[in-house]
């Protein structure tokens, strides 16, 4: 029994973010000619495979408001790392730290570009809208901004701005470890949210953020322990 009308309706409705499920058991259909390719969707283990109409088009898994929120929040989060690294120029001569900083800044800027492209392609704003606050521009706005997990407070940023030399190095490392740990929390929070994190690019991206920041945390912990 093929509910053609339903199939057609669902097909018509297919657009971004809309997945469709429309199939019928193999037994219910006259076998298609052996020369034509068949489109099938298996069932769970032990369940039968269903044949789908030849007009089947692919659909994306549902997107979640959390996905958008995550990307917008992470842009804001990454922007602070770039801002922190920018402070290095006039505050430390530590070559190892400066090289690490350049690397962090490079990868976080790159990732910010990716996140902006991802959001724009989905018709979303690159900055976070908060009730009663207007648009967040994606940069640290001092006391006006809602801080993402791990982001340094305005007080911590002030302390970093005022520090020099070894004191700056220590505050930078401790601050960036805190900052990166926040990214890990954000990733965990994303995947702990029902319906979130199903987009393929988002998935790959977060996987990379997670492994990359873990690695950098370890490097920074080693650098920090050498100092004390």
């Amino acid at each position: 029994m093929i509910d053609r009308a339903t199939c057609k309706l669902v097909r018509l409705a297919v657009g971004l973010g809309l997945a469709f499920a429309c199939g019928f058991p193999l037994s219910a259909v006259a076998q298609q000619s052996d020369t034509q390719p068949v489109i099938v969707r298996p069932g769970a283990p032990g369940e039968p495979t269903r044949v789908l109409p030849s007009t089947t088009r692919a659909g994306l898994p549902p997107s979640s408001p959390k996905d958008i929120e995550f990307m917008q929040g992470m842009i804001m989060h990454h922007a602070q790392a770039v801002e922190m690294v920018a402070l290095m120029d006039t505050r430390t001569e530590n070559r190892e730290l400066r090289s690490l900083g350049a690397r962090i800044s490079h990868s976080q800027s790159d990732e910010m570009n990716f996140m902006k492209r991802w959001l724009l392609a989905r018709g979303e704003s690159t900055s976070m809208r908060m009730s009663g606050m207007g648009e967040m521009a994606g940069m640290d706005h001092g006391q006006h901004s809602m801080l993402m997990p791990g982001m340094l407070s305005p007080k911590q940023m002030d302390a970093l701005r005022k520090a020099k030399g070894a004191e700056f190095d220590r505050l930078f490392l401790a601050g960036m470890i805190q900052h990166h740990n926040g990214a890990l929390i954000m990733v965990k929070d994303l995947f702990d949210t029902q319906g979130a994190g199903q987009d393929a690019e988002l998935f790959n991206f977060t996987t990379d953020v997670d492994s990359g920041q873990r690695a950098e945390i370890r490097i920074m912990q080693t650098m920090l322990s050498k100092k004390s």
Partner: protein, 644 residues
């Protein structure tokens, strides 16, 4: 295989790209982020190569090749294309945000940029007349029985990425790692909770779902048009790739090594899963691989039988003892807690693991309990990605997927030792670095390019690998001399788009029973044939074609054996001519004798070949060149008793 790292696209790039599509103002400057300069003392890729300036296009890009003939492209089926409704509100909103006038048609490349990775073709497996092409959205099965008319047989929808595939007898295996993977292969993923009613806060519901699947699926493909899911083994980290491991002593079971690279799922979804650091949780799902045992008669009873701590220090017991020696790259694991891919060679009892920060060797004589026997790292390596053994098991080629496969890493300014192959000698269980090999041709800023998957080409007497380089195309490397790997063939297309990276190119390029099959991420399945050049003769190609296997899973290496056919002898003679391993007069006389014997098949003519064999054997014993000595020996063996 894809590890997202750097996407060289910017907001500006997207805007410009769309604008160019719609004929609006195109600002030529700064479309793509500028490549960083070539580090001092390094050499970049060659910008004067014919591959460097190919015209862009999806199905009409410029093409060029050397020694490789394109036979056909079977385009990705519609069932694996996003059904973008141009009038959908999201599309309109996205286009408006990008300054695109309303009512415009959406070009195919824009659809691809919407879909991104979700419908990317991935790895390949082969069995009989069937090619299994993995995809983030399922698997497409092609029939290649008719060489002039390869065709799609079955499109199996089953999303969850990356869709790494293997096939063994009536069983098809598939890797699933993403959060949208469902046990029932449904495309619908998991619905977000309904929006909260007015004035109520969004309720945070647990994400754990008994319907989610991340791990290795097993299908029965006894009926190729009706594959049935018969098993599904869940793992904590999902399966980014997997490798089938046969046990020469046990024909009733097959093992699967599971490499997971992504986040560890919640304990609530799968009991015992923890992503903690080793100091906090000795049972962490990081720092291990999982081994699944599949009873062939009862695949539904497949289960994890061990989770070997292959990064452990046997002395201290620390499970996180391996570290990367990388001096470049961005944010790759400094501490090795995962393998990306493992290639096994059951006959020699070894596996080569490409494990993020390290290349390792495993003793797999007891397949359920692999033991690490060697580990190397490399200052130029950012991410150890895949490995392959030479046929004699004395060399290992590793690849470095610097930039994760989504970035442009073959530009004029990218060092030729970054994102390259590294050829190692393998002797007595020790790996010794010999040299790097990288695609020599510079690629555009909008072409994702780095070393990726390849297989051996079974030319006797030489070590040859055909290999995918994403939008860098495919390249054939001769590594007979591991210190001097050299390119002997290639095929390349221009970028999909000149201004922004649209993920595309060859994911895997493998030789299977006489042809090369390439999984083109965005375009479909490419089929190629080799053509003779000064680097590779027709005899050598014909000799490679004598090797016919019943199935091929490239990460499960089986020894190549050549039949005692005279065409194989002729291939050796061509090689000995190239290397001056035989005198010109000897070569001429040999070729004449072979031609005569092939025609007459008479006892006296075959006897003449035996006489040649005796002389050649003597030459083999006195040859100072080990490669030529081996060729001479193999040549003599055939001449003594050729199969006609």
């Amino acid at each position: 295989m894809i590890q997202f790292c750097h996407i060289k696209t910017s907001l500006l790039a997207t805007t410009l790209f769309l604008c160019s599509c719609f004929g609006a103002v195109v600002l030529a400057q700064e479309a793509l982020e500028k490549a960083p300069p070539l580090p001092a003392g390094m050499t970049g890729s060659n910008p004067n190569d014919p591959r460097s300036k190919l015209s862009p296009g999806l199905f009409d890009a410029g093409e060029t090749s050397m020694g490789i003939k394109h036979v056909t492209l079977l385009r990705k089926p519609d069932a694996f294309q996003l059904g973008v409704d141009p009038n959908g509100p999201k599309v309109e909103k996205a286009l408006t945000a990008l300054g695109v006038p309303p009512g415009a048609q959406i070009p195919a490349t824009v659809k691809m940029s919407f879909a991104g990775l979700a419908f990317a073709n991935s790895d390949l497996a082969f069995q009989g007349n069937h090619v299994f092409l993995g995809n983030f959205y399922g698997i497409n099965i092609y029939d290649i029985a008719d060489r002039n008319n390869a065709k799609l047989v079955t499109s199996m929808l089953c999303p969850g990425g990356q869709g790494d595939v293997s096939v063994y007898k009536n069983l098809l295996f598939m890797s699933v790692e993403m959060a949208n993977g469902r046990l029932d292969c449904g495309e619908q993923g998991f619905p977000p909770p309904p929006p909260p009613s007015a004035g109520q806060p969004q309720q945070a519901l647990p994400a754990a779902s008994k319907d989610r699947f991340r791990g290795v699926r097993i299908f029965d493909i006894s009926d190729i048009r009706n594959p049935k899911q018969v098993g599904a083994v869940q793992t904590c980290r999902g399966s980014h790739t997997h490798t089938l491991v046969t046990d020469p002593k046990d024909k009733a079971n097959i093992y699967v090594y599971v490499s997971g690279t992504s986040f560890v799922r919640q304990n609530e979804e799968m009991a015992g899963c923890s992503g903690g650091t080793p100091d906090k949780d000795p049972n962490t799902a990081l720092f291990r691989i999982d081994v699944i045992k599949v009873p062939l008669a009862e695949p539904q009873n497949a289960k994890i039988v061990s989770s070997p701590r292959i990064f452990e220090d046997p002395k201290t017991g620390a499970i996180n003892s391996l570290t990367s020696g990388a001096t470049h790259g961005t944010g790759r694991p400094a501490e090795t807690d995962q393998c990306h891919d493992i290639t096994v060679y059951p006959e020699i009892g070894l596996a080569a693991g490409a494990c993020s920060g390290n290349g390792i060797l495993l003793d797999i004589k007891d397949p359920a309990n692999p033991k690490r026997i060697e580990a190397v790292n490399d200052p130029n390596y950012a991410y150890w990605h895949s490995a392959s053994f030479s046929n004699d098991g004395k060399k290992v080629v590793f690849t470095d997927e610097w930039g994760g496969g989504m970035g442009a890493r073959c530009r004029e300014t990218d060092p030729n030792v970054w994102g390259a192959n590294a050829v190692f000698n393998l002797d007595g269980g020790k790996l010794r670095f010999a040299n790097y090999y990288k695609l020599p041709a510079a690629q555009a800023d909008s072409e994702n390019c780095v070393a990726h998957n390849g297989s051996l080409v079974p030319v006797p007497g030489r070590d040859i690998k055909i290999q995918a380089w994403y939008q860098g195309g495919i390249s054939m490397m001769d590594f007979t001399d591991p210190a001097k790997p050299v390119e002997i063939g290639y095929f390349d297309r221009g970028p999909i788009d000149p201004k922004m990276i649209i993920l595309a190119g060859s994911w895997s390029a493998y030789w299977y029973n006489g042809r090369i099959y390439s999984s083109e991420i965005a375009r479909g399945l490419d089929i190629f044939e080799l053509t003779p050049t000064k680097f590779l003769s027709q005899n050598e190609i014909d000799a490679a074609k004598t090797v016919q296997v019943s199935a091929l899973n490239v990460q499960t290496q089986e020894r190549i054996h050549w039949p005692r056919q005279l065409v194989v002898a002729k291939a050796y003679i061509d090689q000995l001519e190239r290397s001056n391993g035989l005198l010109a007069g000897q070569i001429a006389s040999l070729r004449k004798s072979i031609e005569t014997a092939e025609g007459s098949k008479s006892a006296s003519d075959l006897n003449a070949l035996k006489k040649h064999a005796a002389v050649i054997e003597k030459g083999a014993r006195s040859s100072k060149n080990a490669t030529d000595a081996a060729r001479l020996k193999a040549l003599a063996e055939i001449l003594k008793q050729p199969a006609l």
